[in-house]
Symmetry: C2
Subunit: 407 residues, 2 copies
């Protein structure tokens, strides 16, 4: 199950980036499970990682290498195994993958960032990965993005990716990105795995600020099940292959255009994760306005988005707005005056003044809930701060996927 | 579905309390849905209520009456309709129920505490309730507890209740209580509906302290779906019919004995709610020790207990301990050293030092997960503060119940 059509759009090559995908047989035979990104040597790289205290070994190693003095040349990504909950041994295996790739390609291990996704707690098998590295290096191509979008999938039912182009002073810049993720999704200052690149030349600190801003309003606004993954990571490379004058501040016009392109792409990829959320039959936007603080609007949005009772009502297309009120009421907003709260689904005003809206009928509610894409609009009536969260419904398919995933 | 046998034990009458149950036809015909407790005129009453900001009309009215100067003579309970999300009109209806009962029985409206449970957001029909009040008053009996345990059920599949007796200086004291609740269960300083009474004479402030202490370690330690109800309430009456010297402090021996009896009964009723949790196939105890603060142990226990990924793994009897680690890691414990964390299921050590325990096998894990009653023991390894939470698994039946409940 998944919401909408979800065909992968054409992914434009980014000058300075080559991508390869092979089947290494990490968990299953004949399934693409190992992806390599090669970045032009002068590339700047921005990154955000999971805040889960049990972060995976590749997260530890990738963050170390990224923070080091060496430039980043490769992103090495495997599926089929998260290399999480694997302790010191797991870190040693992640380091070995980097070292072996470095030896074959004549760089240092510290210029490789590793990423893993899949089952937690199993040892990551080193041999099939190492044996596949020569083939992986040989098949690098600038046209490799679409295959990589397939190669990083786990319980995803479809690949996610996109490209944006902007023109500035007669020059064309490209941004392309891919992402994976379907369950264990509630990013916290980071995201599921997402890989983006642009050919623009951007200074590293400026690039990091761009990524932070884009992630905050895209990947950090989605939730499938409230479970922050151990392996979340989002990286953005600027190869500089476009040879533009280096973007060195966040105030110029080119920065603004690139920010808009990257932000738009991130929002699309984040929404694609939700549309392909585990067992998703609905794509649901929860928009909370009228908060005294942005943090309380966000808290209310998440309380509603993660309520199992709201999510099962969404699954049933049942306009059970009492469950929405109950979730708002327990979100911990201090001194909330419930008589000021209003709730709409789409264009239909459902509840106001702490009760059912005067002209509301069940037929209207049922009609508003019938679609695949649903917008819940909540007005807290005590300020002008807002927050938006995207989520899914909760039905039998979510249970089936997560009860059967490892068995 | 429900866990264990769950037969209602014999419920002993409490001197000074009479109980009646009738079918008023509030939502369904021929189903007991209206319950009345009559308390001896000198009874002390303790109460705790939901902290949900969208608390229901009967909660507002019951709390008002309880805090007033008038003694409490009646608890009037209806099922089939929660009278929540009904605004001023809902409060007027709740007050009318109290006033009509008061007129028939010669007391003031302020001596009646109303309670409602059922669907949220529908107007509570006054007429069937008022028409049933004479029959209700006529059928009051000291033997009425078991029928009332049936009468307060909604999606519950079985009645919950119990009695305790203690002896003190040659005198026997009785405590009897009943409770209802199956979904929308994550009490916050309160509980689902629970009604308890003892024949001991206890001063009101001492009785309230007793109830607070008992609720904190029983009803406030359970969660089915993390959704705090709009209608939670727990009340405890001390009729004084035993004619003992008034218990006026929390230091005496009789207070200690009564506290233990009430606490034990509350814990049993709370666990009964979980065993009958919506769609429950497992009864799960999450015990977190080794915390630096009780609050962080509690936060970890709830993060694990409410993780949809952990709950679906429990449903599948799958020892997917990586999901438990991931939930611990995102619980927001500051500076958690994951290498100090250990996780056991029952007697089986599953993970330690941030990874799978050296001697652990999947067969051991599967065996530990096979039972209907599962204990997950987490040691944070950074202190001596602990917390325990009881919860259920999450399977198809939970989705079915909550997708179909209103349709």
């Amino acid at each position: 199950m998944a919401v909408g059509e979800g065909r992968l759009p054409p992914l434009l090559p980014v000058s300075g980036v080559r991508v390869a995908t092979v089947s290494a047989g990490i968990k299953y035979a004949d399934r693409p499970d190992l992806v390599l990104f090669e970045l032009a040597s002068e590339s700047a790289v921005a990154a955000t990682f999971t805040r889960n205290a049990f972060c995976a070994a590749p997260v530890v190693v990738a963050r170390d290498h990224w923070q080091g003095d060496t430039g980043i040349c490769y992103w090495l990504v495997n599926t089929g195994n998260a290399n999480a909950g694997t302790g010191q041994t797991g870190e040693a295996v992640a380091l070995q993958c980097c070292a072996q790739l470095a030896a074959l390609s004549g760089v240092t291990a510290a210029s490789v960032m590793p990423f893993s996704t899949g089952v937690i707690g199993e040892p990551l098998p080193l041999v099939p990965i190492v044996q596949s590295l020569p083939a992986l290096l040989e098949s690098l191509t600038s046209q490799g993005w679409a295959a990589a979008a397939e190669g990083i999938m786990t319980t995803d039912t479809r690949p996610k990716g996109g490209s944006r182009q902007i023109s500035f002073q007669g020059q064309t810049f490209t941004v392309t990105g891919i992402a994976k993720g379907s369950g264990m999704i509630r990013p916290n200052m980071a995201t599921m795995l997402a890989f983006l690149a642009t050919d623009a030349a951007i200074a590293p600190d400026v690039l990091q600020e761009m990524l932070n801003e884009c992630v905050e309003t895209s990947f950090n606004c989605i939730t499938v099940d409230g479970d922050t993954s151990t392996n979340d990571a989002c990286v953005l490379a600027a190869t500089g292959a476009a040879n533009n004058p280096l973007v060195e501040s966040t105030s110029g016009e080119l920065y603004g255009l690139l920010l808009e392109a990257v932000g738009d792409l991130c929002t699309n990829l984040a929404q694609d994760l939700i549309r392909d959320g585990e067992g998703a039959g609905k794509f649901v936007e929860i928009s909370v306005g009228g908060g005294a603080r942005a943090s309380e609007s966000r808290r209310v949005a998440y309380a509603v988005a993660e309520s199992p009772l709201v999510k099962t009502a969404l699954f049933a297309s049942d306009p059970n707005w009492g469950r929405i009120l109950a979730a708002i009421g327990r979100a911990g907003v201090p001194d909330l005056d419930v008589r000021a709260v209003a709730v709409s689904i789409g264009e239909t005003l459902i509840a106001e003044q702490g009760m059912r809206a005067a002209n509301y009928t069940e037929e209207q509610g049922a009609a508003a809930m019938a679609g695949e894409e649903i917008r819940v609009i909540i007005d807290l009536g005590r300020g002008d701060k807002s927050a938006t969260v995207w989520t899914t419904d909760l039905g039998y398919e979510y249970v089936r996927i997560n009860a059967e995933y490892r068995s």
